[in-house]
C-alpha cells in the first residue's frame, strides 16, 4: 500500500514535471514566434551590400583629348607615326573612403584639309566658329589645335586661345626638326595639360564638389568659397527678381523685366537646361525697406552701407518676398532696391571702405541685392511721383554675374598667356558648361551616395522603422542610377553621367524624406512593455519558477546518485 502510494507519488511528480516542460516548450516554440510574427514591423529588403560598396567610392573621370597638329608645326618625319594615342592616369586618394582617378586619353593627329582652311581664317574667333561647324565635339571632350609658332592668328604675346566651344588654339613651342616625335610630344605635354585643366575640371573643383563626403581640409580657400557660394545641386530652381520701391509716393518705377529676362537670362538658362529646370518670375514690392539705416557720409554727401551691416539687410526684406507657393525648389532672389528720395544716393562700401563699382552684393546660396540710385534723374521741383525707367541692361549685367556665381560657374584664372573668348550671347561657353557638368555630376554622386548610405545606416540601426516596398524600390533605383552614373563617368559620357546622377539624387531624397518612415519611429519601448506586462508577468513567472525547480531537482538527484555511487 505504502509502496503503491510512493510509486504513485513519484509518477505524479514526474507527470507534473513533464507538463511544466511541455508548457514551457509550447510557449517557446509556438507562443514566442507567434508574438514575434504578429508584432513585427514590415521591412522590405534593401540592397545593403551594394550600399556598403557605395560607401567607399572610387570615381574615375575620363576625358578625351584630341591634339591636332596643323601644317607647319611638325616635319613630315615626325608625322609618320600618326595617328597615335596615349593614356595618362593620375590617382588621388581624397580620404579613406573616397578615391579619384583621372584618365586622360590623348589622341594625336594632323589637321584635315578642311580644318586647315578653318585655321586660315583672319581672326581666332572666326577660326573657332568654323572649326565648330566642321565637327561637333562630344560633351566633356577637349580639342587642342597646335598652330605654328609664327601663325598670325593669335596676337604676339598670346600663347593659348580658348574659344566659345570645346576647342583651344595652342601656339606651338619651338621644336627642333631633329627631335623625335616623342620628344616633341613630351615638350608639348605641359602646355596641353594647362589647357585641359582650364577647359575641363581641375582637381580642386572635384574635391570641392565632394564636400558632402569629405572633410574640407585639403581644399583651398578660394574653391571652398566657390562651392559655398554656389547653390546646392537640385532638380530645379526658382529665380525671382524683385523690385523694391520703398517710396511709391515719389517714385513711379518702370522696369521691363519681361524683355530683360528674355534677352539676358533666358539664353543662359536654356544653355543650363541639362543641369536643372529653371523658372523665372518677378514682382514689385512697395514700401519694402532694408533692415539697416544707412549712414550719411559728409565727405561724399551720400548715404553708405558698410560691408559689415550688409548681413542685416536681408532678413527684414525676406519676410516680404514670400516663398513660391507652387513648388518646393530652392529660390534664388535678386532684389533691385531703389532707395527713397530721402536716403539717396546710397552706396555700398566694401571692407576696405571703397565704394563697390556695381553697387551690388550677393549672399551665398540666397541671391543678390543691387542698389539703384535714381536721385540724379529728376530735379527737386519735379512733380511727384516721378516716372522713372530703369536701365535694365545695367541691372541685368550685375544680376547675370551674380547668377553665374550662384549656379557655380567658377571664375577661372587662366595662366599667363591665355586668352578666353567671352561667352557671347549664351552667357556660358561650352567648356564652362562642361566644367559645371563635371563638378555637378561628382557632387550629385557624392550627395546621393551619402544620402543612401546614411539612410541604410539609419534603417539598420532603428529596427522600429517600417520599410515599405515603395521605399525599397526608391532605394534600389537610386543605387542602380548611382552605379550607372559612376560607370558613365568612367566611360567618359558626361551627359549621361549627369542624367543618371540626377535620377539617383531624386530617388535617394524621395526615399530619405518619405513620411512613411516616421510612422512607428516614436513607439517607445516602455509603453510597449506597460501593455505587455499584465499578460507576460503572470504567464512567465510560474513557467520560470517550475523550470528552476526542475533544474534544481535534477541537480540534487545527480548529487544523490553520485553520493550513492561513492
Amino acid at each position: 500500500m505504502l509502496l503503491k502510494r510512493t510509486l504513485f507519488c513519484v509518477f505524479e511528480k514526474q507527470r507534473g514535471r513533464y507538463a511544466a516542460l511541455a508548457i514551457a516548450a509550447v510557449v517557446i516554440v509556438v507562443g514566442i514566434p507567434l508574438w514575434w510574427k504578429t508584432t513585427e514591423t514590415y521591412r522590405a529588403w534593401l540592397p545593403f551590400s551594394e550600399i556598403s560598396e557605395l560607401d567607399s567610392l572610387q570615381l574615375q573621370l575620363s576625358v578625351d583629348i584630341e591634339v591636332v597638329f596643323s601644317r607647319g608645326t611638325l616635319t613630315p618625319e615626325q608625322q609618320k607615326k600618326f595617328p597615335l594615342s596615349h593614356v595618362n592616369e593620375k590617382e588621388h586618394q581624397v580620404d579613406a573612403k573616397t578615391g579619384l582617378r583621372y584618365k586622360y586619353e590623348t589622341r594625336y593627329r594632323t589637321a584635315t584639309i578642311m580644318e586647315e582652311d578653318a585655321l586660315n581664317q583672319p581672326t581666332a574667333a572666326e577660326a573657332d566658329l568654323s572649326l565648330h561647324m566642321l565637327s561637333e565635339s562630344s560633351c566633356g571632350s577637349v580639342v587642342v589645335y597646335v598652330i605654328p609658332e609664327t601663325a598670325a592668328l593669335l596676337p604676339e604675346d598670346v600663347k593659348v586661345y580658348v574659344g566659345q566651344r570645346r576647342t583651344a588654339l595652342l601656339r606651338s613651342p619651338p621644336f627642333k626638326s631633329s627631335w623625335s616625335l616623342k620628344e616633341v610630344l613630351s615638350n608639348l605635354d605641359v602646355e596641353v595639360e594647362q589647357v585641359v585643366s582650364t577647359m575641363s575640371f581641375s582637381h580642386q573643383d572635384i574635391v570641392a564638389a565632394l564636400s558632402d563626403r569629405v572633410r574640407m581640409a585639403k581644399v583651398t580657400k578660394e574653391s571652398m568659397a566657390d562651392s559655398m557660394r554656389a547653390i546646392k545641386s537640385s532638380p530645379g530652381y526658382e529665380i525671382t527678381f524683385s523690385l523694391l520701391n520703398p517710396d511709391p509716393r515719389s517714385h513711379s518705377l518702370h522696369w521691363d523685366i519681361e524683355g530683360a529676362v528674355q534677352s539676358c537670362i533666358q539664353p543662359l538658362l536654356n544653355k543650363l537646361a541639362p543641369i536643372a529646370n529653371f523658372s523665372v518670375d518677378s514682382q514689385i514690392l512697395y514700401y519694402a525697406v532694408l533692415g539697416v539705416n544707412p549712414r550719411f557720409d559728409n565727405s561724399v554727401s551720400a548715404y553708405t552701407l558698410s560691408a559689415d551691416s550688409l548681413s542685416h539687410v536681408i532678413n527684414p526684406v525676406e519676410a516680404r518676398l514670400g516663398s513660391n507657393a507652387a513648388s518646393s525648389n530652392p529660390v534664388l532672389n535678386f532684389l533691385l532696391y531703389v532707395p527713397d528720395s530721402h536716403h539717396s544716393p546710397l552706396f555700398i562700401r566694401d571692407h576696405s571702405k571703397r565704394e563697390v563699382p556695381s553697387n551690388a552684393f550677393h549672399s551665398p546660396r540666397w541671391g543678390g541685392i543691387m542698389v539703384y540710385n535714381v536721385n540724379e534723374m529728376y530735379g527737386p521741383e519735379a512733380e511727384r511721383p516721378v516716372d522713372i525707367n530703369i536701365n535694365m541692361a545695367k541691372v541685368m549685367g550685375v544680376f547675370l554675374a551674380q547668377l553665374r556665381l550662384m549656379l557655380g560657374v567658377q571664375h577661372t584664372h587662366p595662366p599667363t598667356g591665355f586668352v578666353l573668348q567671352s561667352p557671347g550671347s549664351a552667357g556660358l561657353a561650352d567648356w564652362e558648361l562642361d566644367r559645371l557638368l563635371w563638378s555637378r555630376s561628382v557632387e550629385n554622386i557624392a550627395t546621393a551616395s551619402t544620402t543612401i548610405t546614411s539612410l541604410a545606416q539609419l534603417l539598420d540601426q532603428i529596427g522600429n522603422i517600417v520599410i515599405n516596398d515603395n521605399i525599397a524600390q526608391q532605394v534600389s533605383s537610386a543605387v542602380t542610377s548611382l552605379q550607372s552614373a559612376v560607370a558613365e563617368l568612367e566611360a567618359g559620357n558626361l551627359a549621361f553621367a549627369l542624367q543618371y546622377s540626377r535620377e539617383a539624387i531624386l530617388a535617394s531624397e524621395r526615399a530619405f524624406f518619405d513620411p512613411s518612415l516616421l510612422h512607428l519611429l516614436y513607439f517607445p519601448d516602455d509603453q510597449k512593455f506597460a501593455i505587455y506586462i499584465p499578460l507576460f508577468l503572470p504567464m512567465c513567472v510560474p513557467i520560470v519558477l517550475s523550470l528552476l525547480k526542475i533544474v534544481s531537482e535534477a541537480k540534487k538527484r545527480r548529487a544523490d546518485k553520485q553520493a550513492k555511487s561513492d
Binding site: 550688409l310 514670400g322 551674380q402
Partner: protein, 566 residues
C-alpha cells in the same frame, strides 16, 4: 553666414539698348489697377459696421496654355502662382470670427459663415480635380496660416445649384466645383497679417493703415475674405481681366464700450486716422452711410441690397479731404427688416437620435419667392432622408427640386440641396432626423466633449426688391455695391448663412483601450494560472481525517476509557 561681396558686371551685356523698350513698359504698367474703399454704416443696434474692400484688376490670363504669367506688379505673386498652377477659375475664401446677426444688423455687403469657407471653380481642363483641390487647400493653408489643410474629401461637397460662378463664364458642370467649410476655425492675427501682405501698400499707406489687429479683433464680428474671379475689362466685355477683391468686414460695439453715447470716429474704432491714400490706388474712397442723418454734405445715393441709402463720400486722393472726418453723432431710425432670414438648431434628447431644424423667414408682405437651401452635414450624423419635412404656415410645402447625395462613412458628407418656394410673410421649417454614429477612437478631436461642429446651411435667393435696382454697369459704382452683378431691376441676390451647429456625439472613455488590454490580460492570466496549476501540481493521496463529530466522540471516549471509533 551671409558674407557680402561686390559683383562686377561683365562687359559683355551692353548691347541691350536703354530706350527701346520704354513704350512697352509703360503700356504694361497700365494693365493693372488698384482701388480701395471703406464703407461705414451705423447699425440699428448701436454698433458700427465698417467694410473694407480692396480690388486689384489685372488684364491678363492665368490659364493661358503657352505663356506662363510670371511678372507681377500689383497682383500678389503668391496668389497668381496658385491660380496658374492649379488652373483655378474662381476662388473664394473667407475667415470669419463671430456670427452676423441678420435680424439686428441687416444684410452684410458680402456674407460669410462663421469659421473658414472655401469654394473654388476649377478650369474645365483639369483632369484630377480632387488631387488639385487637396494640394490647393494645403498651399492656401500655408499662405493664410490657417488650418485649411483639414479640408479633405470628408468635408468637401459639390453643390449642384447653390454656388454658381460669380465671374465671367457660364460654368454649369459642378464636377469642377468644390465647396468646404471649417466651422471650427478660429480667426486671429496670424490670419490677418498674411492677408494684409497681399495688399500692394501693405499696411503702410492708404485705408489699410486702419487695419490694426488689436482693434479689429476687439469687435463683435470680424470677417476677412479673398475673392478672385475673371471679370469683364469694360462694359462691352471685349477683354477679360482678373479681379482680386480683398474684403474685411468688422462690427464694432461702440455703444457699450463708449459709455452709451451714440457717436463714432475713425480713431475710436481703429485707434488710427487716415493721413493719405495708397499712392498706387486709382481710387480711394470712404463712404459713410448718412441715410438717417441727412444734414451731412457730400452725398451720393446708391441702391444696395434692395435698399436706397445715402452716403457721404470722402475721396482720399484729394488732399483737401483730410481733416473732415470727425466724430459723428448718430441718429437712428427703424431699419428695414431683412426680407430673408434663416436660423437653425438641433432638437431632440439623448445621444442616439436628433433632429435638425432649419427655419427660413420670408418677411416680404405680399411676394412669394423661391430660395435654394444647401446643407452639408458630416457623415457621422446619419440623416434619415425619409423624415425630411418642409412646412410653411403649418402646411406641407413640397420642394420643387431636391438634390440629395448620401454620405459615405469616412469618405464624403451628406449634401442636401432644395429649391423651396417661400409664401409671403411666412416661416418655413425644414426638419430632418438623424442618428449619431460612433466614431473610431482615433477620429475624435482632442476635446470631444466640446461637441462636433456642423457647418452653416446656405440659403441663396433672388429677393424681390422694394426699390428699383441699378443694372447699369457703365456708371462708376462703389465697390461694395458691385460684387454680385445685378441682372434685373426688381430683385437682388442674397446669400444667408445660418448658425453652425454644435452636436454632441457619444464619447467613450479614452483610457478604455488600456483598460480593456489590462482586463483581458488579467482574465487570460487567471485562466492560464489555474490551468497551469491543474496540469503541473503533484497530487498525493491523503489519509482521510475523521469527521469532526467522530473526533469529538473519540475525545470523550478517550476520557471515558472506551475504545475509540475507527
Amino acid at each position: 553666414s551671409r558674407g557680402a561681396e561686390g559683383a562686377a558686371a561683365p562687359p559683355v551685356f551692353t548691347w541691350l539698348s536703354d530706350g527701346t523698350k520704354d513704350s512697352e513698359s509703360f503700356t504694361a504698367a497700365a494693365r493693372d489697377q488698384f482701388q480701395e474703399e471703406l464703407v461705414i454704416r451705423p447699425l440699428h443696434s448701436g454698433d458700427i459696421y465698417a467694410s473694407f474692400q480692396f480690388r486689384t484688376l489685372w488684364d491678363t490670363d492665368f490659364l493661358q496654355e503657352r505663356q506662363k504669367v510670371s511678372h507681377y506688379r500689383l497682383f500678389p505673386k503668391s496668389l497668381g502662382q496658385v491660380l496658374s498652377k492649379f488652373s483655378v477659375r474662381e476662388l473664394h475664401i473667407s475667415f470669419t470670427q463671430g456670427f452676423w446677426r441678420t435680424m439686428q444688423w441687416g444684410q452684410p455687403f458680402i456674407p460669410s459663415p462663421p469659421g473658414a469657407e472655401l469654394w473654388v471653380w476649377f478650369h474645365d481642363t483639369v483632369s484630377d480635380v480632387d488631387g488639385n483641390w487637396k494640394e490647393l487647400t494645403n498651399v492656401l493653408s500655408g499662405i493664410f496660416c490657417a488650418s485649411l489643410n483639414f479640408i479633405d474629401l470628408t468635408n468637401t461637397v459639390q453643390p449642384s445649384a447653390s454656388f454658381k460662378p460669380l465671374g465671367l463664364g457660364n460654368a454649369t458642370d459642378h464636377r469642377f466645383l468644390r465647396y468646404a467649410t471649417l466651422p471650427r476655425e478660429i480667426v486671429c492675427t496670424e490670419n490677418l497679417t498674411p492677408w494684409k501682405k497681399l495688399l500692394p501698400c501693405g499696411s503702410k499707406a492708404g485705408l489699410s493703415v486702419l487695419l490694426k489687429s488689436e482693434k479689429l479683433f476687439h469687435s463683435s464680428f470680424h470677417s476677412q475674405a479673398v475673392h478672385i474671379r475673371p471679370v469683364c475689362q469694360d462694359e462691352q466685355c471685349t477683354s477679360k481681366a482678373w479681379e482680386l477683391r480683398q474684403t474685411l468686414n468688422v462690427v464694432f460695439d461702440l455703444y457699450t464700450s463708449g459709455q452709451g453715447k451714440k457717436e463714432w470716429s475713425l480713431f475710436k474704432m481703429f485707434s488710427r486716422t487716415l493721413t493719405e491714400a495708397c499712392p498706387l490706388a486709382t481710387s480711394s474712397k470712404v463712404y459713410v452711410d448718412i441715410t438717417d442723418n441727412p444734414e451731412v454734405k457730400l452725398k451720393q445715393q446708391t441702391v444696395v441690397l434692395g435698399d436706397r441709402r445715402t452716403y457721404s463720400v470722402f475721396d482720399l486722393t484729394r488732399a483737401e479731404m483730410f481733416g473732415q472726418l470727425r466724430s459723428l453723432n448718430l441718429l437712428l431710425r427703424d431699419m428695414l427688416r431683412p426680407l430673408l432670414h434663416a436660423e437653425r438648431y438641433v432638437a431632440g434628447f439623448g445621444l442616439q437620435t436628433g433632429e435638425i431644424h432649419t427655419v427660413i423667414y420670408n418677411n416680404h408682405p405680399y411676394r412669394a419667392f423661391p430660395v435654394l437651401l444647401m446643407d452639408s452635414v458630416p457623415w457621422y450624423l446619419q440623416l434619415y432622408i425619409h423624415t425630411l419635412t418642409v412646412t410653411s404656415k403649418s402646411r406641407d410645402n413640397k420642394p420643387s427640386y431636391i438634390h440629395y447625395q448620401p454620405a459615405k462613412d469616412r469618405h464624403r458628407p451628406h449634401l442636401l440641396e432644395m429649391l423651396i418656394q417661400l409664401p409671403p410673410h411666412s416661416m418655413t421649417e425644414v426638419t430632418v432626423q438623424f442618428e449619431r454614429a460612433l466614431l473610431k477612437w482615433t477620429e475624435y478631436t482632442p476635446d470631444p466633449n466640446h461637441g462636433f461642429y456642423v457647418g452653416s446651411s446656405v440659403v441663396s435667393a433672388l429677393v424681390p426688391s422694394m426699390v428699383a435696382m441699378n443694372t447699369n454697369f457703365t456708371q462708376d459704382q462703389p465697390l461694395f455695391s458691385s460684387f454680385v452683378p445685378v441682372k434685373e431691376e426688381s430683385s437682388y441676390f442674397v446669400r444667408v448663412y445660418t448658425e453652425p451647429l454644435l452636436v454632441n456625439l457619444p464619447t467613450p472613455d479614452f483610457s478604455m483601450p488600456y483598460n480593456v488590454i489590462c482586463l483581458t490580460c488579467t482574465v487570460v492570466a487567471v485562466g492560464y494560472g489555474s490551468f497551469y496549476n491543474l496540469l503541473t501540481r503533484t497530487f498525493q493521496v491523503d489519509e482521510p481525517s475523521l469527521p469532526l463529530a467522530k473526533r469529538l466522540a473519540n475525545l470523550i471516549r478517550r476520557i471515558r476509557g472506551v475504545p475509540l471509533l475507527a
